[in-house]
Every structure is written in structure tokens, then in C-alpha cells.
Symmetry: C2
């Protein structure tokens, strides 16, 4: 009888469970606590109010780093430190553009990051109009030489923002392709959804053997205006003046905070956002929300009665917008030390919309953690999705080094209405949605820190972000 | 038997109907034609593309008048003419505002129409923060003297935009009340709904015996920023520079077109919008849509096989935004001539949202027309509403002279998201909604031109717009 009872007890308990029932209960408590926690919202609000925009390498970026160190210390993390890296800088300067013919009209426009400016008197030229980067690449140089190229590629709305990838080429490579054909400058229809007259900035690139020409983005209504004039069939002439210019290199910092693990402190669960933002908005959804979620998740776990088994590392990456510099530096600085000890990594950098799915990138022994995630996240509307996660922004550099990652998929239906505009402001974040994000992140990070089954080796392949 | 048949025939026909069955059928055809007509959209698009913003008295306003005369002639109206009036002018100049303490931040801001500027070095002062104009009026002068007043009155969203009336006082009278208490300048939270970072301009007033101080509106997210800092309890200091200034008087014109009545050409149905706009947007919803609807309704009626009984007069009023100058001039110029012959008037000046109700201001003999309107408009979702219409903008000046009016109520749920901002652009107009507006207007105007029962005398009272 006693033997039978013992057998029953053993059968009813998970045999050497990688994630215990108690871990799951704790994750559920953290989840529920997060749902009513103002912490993430308070953090992004503090950053927005006390610092605001923080272009990588700018004076305000330095302020943001100081804010971050002070804030993470005040939250009581076990360690707070920074890691330096060098980045090129760029200044926006001023920009002014007019349609001169057939009808004189002002254009709402913004310089693209990394662009050179015009000379002082500006550029006056006819427009060579294309529907896409591919159309430009296929153009006869005679149609382009001496002109201002306009690429009118539209971006449609989608929950997962998938059209960003199919549209952003005009922004990132437009200047190269236009210059190859002899253009004087390139303008693009803003890479954004929505009807707003705010132009969308973002990074553009040059190529060493191709002339550097000015590049800027026109707001959607103004792109429509240009398009209407072009369709009338008369030549459209523009005047463009801009003083943007690359600057000297400077030093910026990844800002890092840790909750030290109680059993395996050398094993790391990394949760991240990026601290820098574009300079025209408040950087609330991109990516104040991300760093607030990372810090708040770490803080809620730190406040548990017991430290988690493994270390939680909160990383505010530097200089994401201008080329993932913080992420590249982190990988370079950690690949020979502790990158192999990263048991899981994930980054939030897609706004603050409700999370509807978690994609993973776990090895064959990740099933216990997946089952635990399913149990804890299901009730807040988050399904466990594919096993082809990229990890998000900087973290997407890590699977190449074998790091298991998660991507918590946010509803991005409206993300690209505000992305990279002056209109990326705090009031675009819905506090209850941000709290749902925190609930998903904090329970994911906690379960990963407790999980005793290895998530490596991860499936191979490039699955994007 | 023949006598009985005759009686039946008489009974089944309206006895001396003010609006005939044939009039109703024609109105229904016009309505259905309008629902699929691109005309109104094409007209506002033409104005937006070929002219754009057109501040009263500006060079572009002159272009708009030329556009209007040419366009109305090209549409084939029987008469096209202008009526001159004199208005004061104002130039916006530049504006720049920063929060200097406790946290340095740039403010998205716009000068209010009619405001004076600052001197060249600008104003540096502490903020005196109020939730409403009433709170400011009740303030101790010691709390205001030497400061920059900020009025943070919020405006909530509503289909009929009723909160505009309860909010706009801070804009129109804020400078007077702040100056009375010794303030150096007044800033207001933008009078607008929505989350956008575009500040909302609009007219403000001075009072002869009170010092003229600069007045400007801050975008909603920036008002939130200021509010957050004020609530931290530390002094908030601002720097404000603006070069706005009143200019000399100039001449502008109401632009008028007519379809001459076939039976009673001296009796007039007036349909209107205003041609001027604020200078930062395209003036698409305010009020490109209104003048497009007026012109398109007139054009569809003109194209009927027979001219309507009475004259249709399409009026593009001048200088509405800066003080209803075109409407005041029209009333002054017509009160001793044909204003008494205006059988009905109405104006569209609330965007381009779907019309859901028609309010009237008819005398006791207006029932036939009301019944006809109900029959024709019901199928496109327009109910006949109260008999307390104001007529809209300039037309609201006419009931005081006994003119019967209609107000076609538009869904303004999103009107104040864009109103008086740079974001008032063509893509805020949904073509199908504008076509529904045209259907309602063209059938209303046609029925009024055919209606043989007098709509005078109208009910007395001031029912607003």
C-alpha cells in the first residue's frame, strides 16, 4: 500500500521537469502583477519627459545614457554598467523643398539619416518619377541624368508590418541606384502607412564607388501631390535645399543591468530594447517602449522573494537606428566571453501594440519551456507560434552565434503610421497594451531563467528578425 | 361613374402640391447621379493640386480666386462674377518654442491667426498653468504677472463636434484674459481631437483697451509634456520666439456663379462654402470640400434638360477663417437688394464626412418641402431633423434677415483631428463620403428651387450654426 502510494505520487509529478509547477505558478503571478503594473509606462514616460529625442551620438543621447544608468540603479538592479563603442555621427540640419512647376507648392519633407546635403543654393531640377526601386534600376539613364529621382513606392498596412521589408529598399538603396544613373538627388514617398503629413525618416546608405547624392523622404500627402502633377503630364520641377551632413566619430554606450542568478549566475537570459531614437519625435514607440519593457521585466523578477536561477541581463542597446551599432559591438565584445552562456535572448522593438504570438528558436529539448509558455501566455491572448524566431533588431544578430531567441509579435497595425516621424510620441502608447506586453515578457524571461533543459542547439537558417 | 373616376383622380393627385412628384423624381435622379459622380472630388483635388493653401489676403488666395473664376466658367454656369471686400491681413512668420526647465525640450507649436509676435530675442518666462479659460479668469494676478500663461483645456471627440464651442474660448479670448492679469504671452493646448503632433491654428482676438500679447497653440503631445512637467511641481520655464504680425488691409472677393431660374429667376437658392483656408495645410476638408460641393451641386442641376424654376447661386465666400468677412460683406451688399428674395440658403463647412441629418429652418408652410426632403434623402441615410438650423458659417448670418436655411449635418468624428493643421490634406477626404454629401446637397437645392410654398417667415431665435 505504501509502495503503491509512492508510485502514484511519482506518476503525478513531472519527472525531472525542466520547468517546475512552482516556476509556472510564479510566472503566472508575475504575469498578473504585470497586467496591472504602471511600471513600464512610467519608465517610458520618464524617458520621454526628461530626455525626449536621442539621436545616436547627440548631446541628448548622452543625457539618455545618464538617465538610463540612474534609472536602472534606482530600480535596484544587482549590477548596472555600460560598454563603450564608437559610431559615426550625422546631423540633420535644415531642409526645404518646393515644387516649382507646374504649380508652386511647399513639400513636407525630411532628410534621411546618413544623407549628405545640397550646396547652399540648392538643387533645381526636373523630377524623374518611378513607382519602385526596381523601376528605377531598369530605367534608361537618359531619363534620370541631371534630375531629382522620386520613388513613389507605397506601403500597405499589415498587423506584422511585413511590407516594411518590401518597401524600405527605396529608402536604403535609392541614392545608390539614382546616382548610378546620374541623378542629382533622390526623394522617396515616406515608408509609412496612414494618412499623416509627417514625413518618415530612417537610415540610407551610400556605396564607395558611387557618387553621394542627397536623399530625403516626402510625407504621404505630399507624395500624392507630386504624383498628381506628374500624372498631368507636364514637367514637374523641384527645388531642394538641405544642410544634412555626416559628422565625426563619437563614443556611445550600451547600458546594461543585471539580476544575478541564484544557482547559475553565469548563465544569462537577455532582454533588450534600444535606447537611441530618431531626432524628430519623442522615441516613445521606437523604442522607449522596448527599453521600458526590458527594465520593468527585470525589476519585477528582481523583486521576487528569491532571485531566479539564472542571471537576467537587461540591455539598452546604443545606436540601433543608425546601423545596429550597439548590437554589433555587443556581439563582438561578448562572443569570446559569455555569448555561449546566453540561454535565451529577445528584444522588443516594434512599438507597444498588444502581443498576439510568441515565436521561438529552441533546440529539440525546448519542449518543456514551450509548453510552459503556452500555459502562461495563452490566457493573455498570446499563442506559441513558429520555431523560426529572429529575436528582434540587435538580438537578431545572435542566432548566428547559436543563441536561442524569442520574438514576441506585437500588433503593428498602426506602428508604421508613426514610425520614424515627429509624431512618435507618448500618447501613441496605450498603457493597458504596454502592460500586456510586460506580462508576456516578464513571464517569458522568468520561465527561461528557471528552465533546466538546454535550448541549444538551435535550428539553423536566417529567419529575419 | 365618370364623376366618381374624376373624384378618385383628384384625390390621388396632390392638390396644388408645392413640390411635384416630377420634382421629386428629378431630385432622386440627381441624388443617384451624384452618388457615383467624381465631380466634387475632382474639384477639391484641382484646388488642392493647383493652388493649395490660401490664407485670406495672401498671394495664394488671389490664385485661388483666379482658379475659382476659371473653374466656374469652365463648368458652364450662366453667370460667374466676383464681389470685392476689404479685409485686414496677417502674416504667420516663424515660431520657435522650447521648454528650458526642468527638462529642455522642443515644442511643436503654431501662431494663432491675428497674433502679434515677440521681439527678436523672444520671451523667457515661467509658465502659469490653467486647466481652462475660466480658471485663468479666476486667477490671482500675482500668479500670472510676467509669466507665459498656458491653458490646457481638452477637447473630446463627438460626431457633431459640439465641444469645439466649449473649448475654443481659450483660443479666441485667451490673450485678452491673460494680458488683463499681466501675462507676457499665452499658449493653449491645441483645440483638436486625436493624438497628432500637428498644432491647430485658428483665429484669436484682442480687445482695444488690453495689451496685445503673443498667442500660439501647442500640439496635443507637447501639451501633455508640459503638463507632465508642471505636475512634477518644479517651475517650468519657456522660451518663445515668433515673428507673426498684422499686415495692411487688402481686397479679396466672394466668387459667385449662377444657374438662372427659368420661372422665377429673381428668387434665389444659395449654396456655399468658403474659398480661403489656413496656410499650413491644403485646405481640403476646410473648406475645399465645401466649395467643391456647392459648385458640383450647381453644375449637376445646370446640366438638367430644363433649368430649375428659381436661380441657384453658388457662393465661394472669402476670408471666413479670419472673421467671416466674406459673409458679412455679402449680407451688407445684398440686404437692400435681393436678400429678401433668398428662398433658401445653406453652407457646407464641416469637412467631408457622411451627412446623417438635415436640419431646417422653415416657416409653417415648409411641410411639403420637408416631406419631399424626407423622401429623397432617407434612402441615403439622411434624416430630417430639427427646425432649428443655423445654416453653417457665413449662412448663419442670414436667418437674422429672415432667410430660411438648412444645415446638412456631417459626421465630424474625425474633423477636429485635422482642422486648422498642416495635416488638412486631400487624403483625409473619402471620395464615397463626399459623393454622398453631393447627393444630399444637390437634391436639397433642386427641391428648394422647385418648391412653390413660401418658407418664410422662419422661426425666430439664435440656434448657432
Amino acid at each position: 500500500m505504501r509502495k503503491l502510494l509512492a508510485s502514484l505520487l511519482i506518476a503525478s509529478l513531472p519527472a525531472a521537469a525542466a520547468v517546475t509547477e512552482q516556476d509556472i505558478q510564479t510566472a503566472q503571478k508575475l504575469r498578473d502583477q504585470a497586467l496591472s503594473s504602471p511600471l513600464a509606462y512610467d519608465l517610458v514616460k520618464s524617458l520621454v519627459v526628461e530626455v525626449g529625442p536621442r539621436l545616436a551620438g547627440s548631446e541628448n543621447n548622452k543625457k539618455a545614457e545618464d538617465w538610463a544608468v540612474a534609472k536602472l540603479k534606482s530600480l535596484g538592479f544587482d549590477k548596472v554598467y555600460t560598454e563603450a563603442l564608437t559610431i559615426p555621427t550625422w546631423t540633420r540640419g535644415t531642409i526645404h523643398a518646393e515644387i516649382e512647376a507646374p504649380y508652386r507648392q511647399h513639400l513636407a519633407i525630411t532628410a534621411l539619416g546618413n544623407s549628405v546635403g545640397t550646396d547652399a543654393k540648392g538643387i533645381d531640377a526636373e523630377v524623374a518619377f518611378f513607382d519602385s526601386l526596381d523601376d528605377l534600376k531598369a530605367a534608361d539613364p537618359k531619363e534620370v541624368k541631371g534630375k531629382i529621382v522620386f520613388i513613389n513606392k507605397r506601403m500597405a498596412r499589415a498587423q506584422d508590418g511585413f511590407q516594411y521589408g518590401t518597401t524600405v529598399g527605396a529608402r536604403s538603396r535609392g541614392a545608390i541606384e539614382a546616382a548610378k544613373l546620374g541623378a542629382k538627388a533622390v526623394l522617396i514617398r515616406s515608408v509609412g502607412t496612414g494618412l499623416s503629413r509627417f514625413p518618415h525618416t530612417g537610415m540610407m546608405h551610400y556605396q564607395d564607388d558611387v557618387e553621394k547624392i542627397p536623399a530625403a523622404a516626402v510625407a504621404v500627402p505630399d507624395a500624392n501631390l507630386l504624383e498628381a502633377m506628374v500624372k498631368e503630364g507636364k514637367p514637374v520641377r523641384l527645388h531642394l535645399e538641405m544642410t544634412a551632413k555626416p559628422g565625426p566619430e563619437t563614443t556611445v554606450h550600451n547600458v546594461i543591468a543585471e539580476v544575478t542568478g541564484s544557482e547559475k549566475p553565469d548563465e544569462i537570459v537577455l532582454i533588450a530594447g534600444h535606447l537611441d531614437s530618431w531626432d524628430e519625435g519623442q522615441g516613445a514607440i521606437d523604442d522607449g517602449a522596448g527599453i521600458a519593457l526590458a527594465a520593468a521585466a527585470g525589476k519585477l523578477i528582481k523583486d521576487l522573494p528569491r532571485r531566479p536561477k539564472r542571471t537576467i541581463r537587461v540591455v539598452f542597446f546604443a545606436a540601433e537606428e543608425v546601423g545596429l551599432f550597439g548590437g554589433k559591438a555587443y556581439v563582438a565584445q561578448h562572443k569570446d566571453t559569455d555569448l555561449a552562456k546566453h540561454v535565451l535572448a529577445g528584444e522588443s522593438d516594434f512599438g507597444a501594440g498588444r502581443i498576439y504570438r510568441i515565436d521561438t528558436r529552441f533546440g529539440p529539448k525546448g519542449d518543456d519551456l514551450s509548453a510552459a509558455l503556452n500555459k502562461v501566455l495563452g490566457p493573455i491572448g498570446v499563442d506559441v507560434g513558429s520555431n523560426q524566431a529572429g529575436g528582434g533588431s540587435e538580438v537578431s544578430l545572435m542566432p548566428a552565434f547559436g543563441v536561442p531567441v524569442v520574438s514576441l509579435r506585437q500588433d503593428g497595425t498602426h506602428y508604421f503610421d508613426y514610425h520614424h516621424t515627429a509624431d512618435d510620441t507618448l500618447n501613441k502608447i496605450v498603457p493597458a497594451e504596454l502592460a500586456q506586453n510586460l506580462a508576456a515578457w516578464v513571464s517569458t524571461v522568468y520561465l527561461a531563467a528557471q528552465n533546466d533543459s538546454p535550448l541549444r542547439p538551435i535550428p539553423e537558417g536566417d529567419f529575419g528578425e
